[in-house]
Amino acid sequence: MIKKYLSLTAIVSVCIGSLALVACGGSENKAENKAPLESGASELTNKDEFFKDREQALKQIFFSIPAPIEMADMIKDAGFNFDKSMLNSVDKVAKYVDEENRAINLGIYAADLSYSTVFEQKQESVNYLAASKTLASALGIEAAMDEKFMERVQKNQNNKDSLLSYVTLSYQNVNAYLKEGKRTDVSALIVSGAWIETLYLSTQYAGKKGEKAMKQRVAEQTYSLDQLVSYLNLFATSDRVNHMKEDLTRLQAIYKDVIVVKGETSVEKDNSGVTSIGSTETVTMSDATLAKIAAETVVIRNKYIQ
């Protein structure tokens, strides 16, 4: 019994020592490098673990397609009005019961939330934030949007800039918790859902007669789509990611009709020293291609939101 107690004590000591090493490393380095280790740095203690499948891990972390808030902003910039009827109803939130549907619809709600917030629809924003929180909790990442966070949103809902920053922060938090929790495939589904919803909203506006700006933005989504499909390829063993990949691959086949003419990049600085980046590259598509993209986007979206 005593022997057992001593061994247990030894393990506890090593545990505490191990944690202290991480913490102490901080104070030691503070003096040497003026950089507190406790905030975002630590000693590299387990090299084998850290460098295991490292290339793949970094590729899964460092991935970016424009967040839904930017496309929503471009819809507003193009002079359009808010249309609630286009959004996925928050009343459906309880219907999403498996992880795949929860993740994809969390992305869809994130896009609807961004759209509502950009158009300053306060009540809709709060509703979509609440629905997003429900799905985030169901996915086990309730800390991404905890009660304190929701209270702050409620308090600041009349301040457009604050609300915008909470919306972008919530999207970032959700992805951060998943990526750091090694659930990158779930994050990939959320990003895919958000992208599909954003494309859906954009095509609804782009399809209006004579509309050019949004049509151009929809054509330019060819870049994001290729990036997204390549990203999903990193999760080849995940069935749920493969379902989404199959859908996006069908869309990619239609996007092949978007004409991209390669060009040269130019860089210049204006009088205030700000860099301007230009290119002779052009991206165009016909109305028929837009119609096909819009129709396929509806099919994919409907599959997931029902």
Binding site: L8, I11, V12, V14, C15, S18, L19, L21, V22, G25, N33, K34, A35, L37, S39, G40, A41, S42, E43, L44, T45, N46, E49, F50, F51, R54, L58, I61, F62, F63, S64, I65, P66, A67, I69, E70, M74, L164, S165, T168, Y171, Q172, N173, N175, A176, Y177, E180, S187, R217, E220, Y223, Q227, T265, V267, V274, T275, S276, I277, S279, E281
Partner: protein, 141 residues
């Protein structure tokens, strides 16, 4: 026996778990530097080791103004970052820049840019450290 297992789990995983968190770093040290811009990406932060490099491809839309931030924990030293077009033509490097962490630019046309980051080697260091690096971009409304 159960207690042993739990303690062994803690022993093995707590240090690496604790080191995997870059959320507070990004929230406290990076996002405030985006001031005046709306963040337009999801989450691109990770702990990296000396000598490592990574890249990120991002689509920037024409007619918009952006601020791109690459912020590294000071323990990593002077992290180099470059921005190139898809064909490898270099557009920006932070090597001689006054502000080593931020690059502001206007996009005339939509195109994909490649951001490459390189953490310097620390060959003489007795103890190696890893630190957070965050890549964040935002657009001006």
């Amino acid at each position: 026996m159960k207690a042993y297992k739990i303690l062994l789990f803690l022993l093995v995983f707590i240090p690496s778990f604790a080191s995997a968190q870059c959320k507070p770093f990004t929230k406290n040290k990076v996002l405030p530097k985006l001031n005046g811009y709306v963040q337009n990406d999801s989450y691109n932060s990770a702990q990296m080791a000396p000598g490592e490099d990574a890249e990120l491809m991002v689509t920037f839309f024409g007619g918009r103004d952006y601020r791109l931030l690459v912020v590294a924990h000071p323990i990593l030293g002077d992290v180099e970052f470059t921005v190139s077009d898809i064909n490898g033509k270099q557009i920006y490097t932070n090597k001689d820049a006054q502000d080593k962490e931020a690059f502001e630019f206007k996009m005339k046309n939509t195109q994909q840019l490649v951001i490459k980051i390189k953490v310097p080697e620390q060959k003489d260091a007795v103890v190696q450290h890893i630190g957070c690096i965050s890549i964040v971009s935002g657009f001006k409304q």
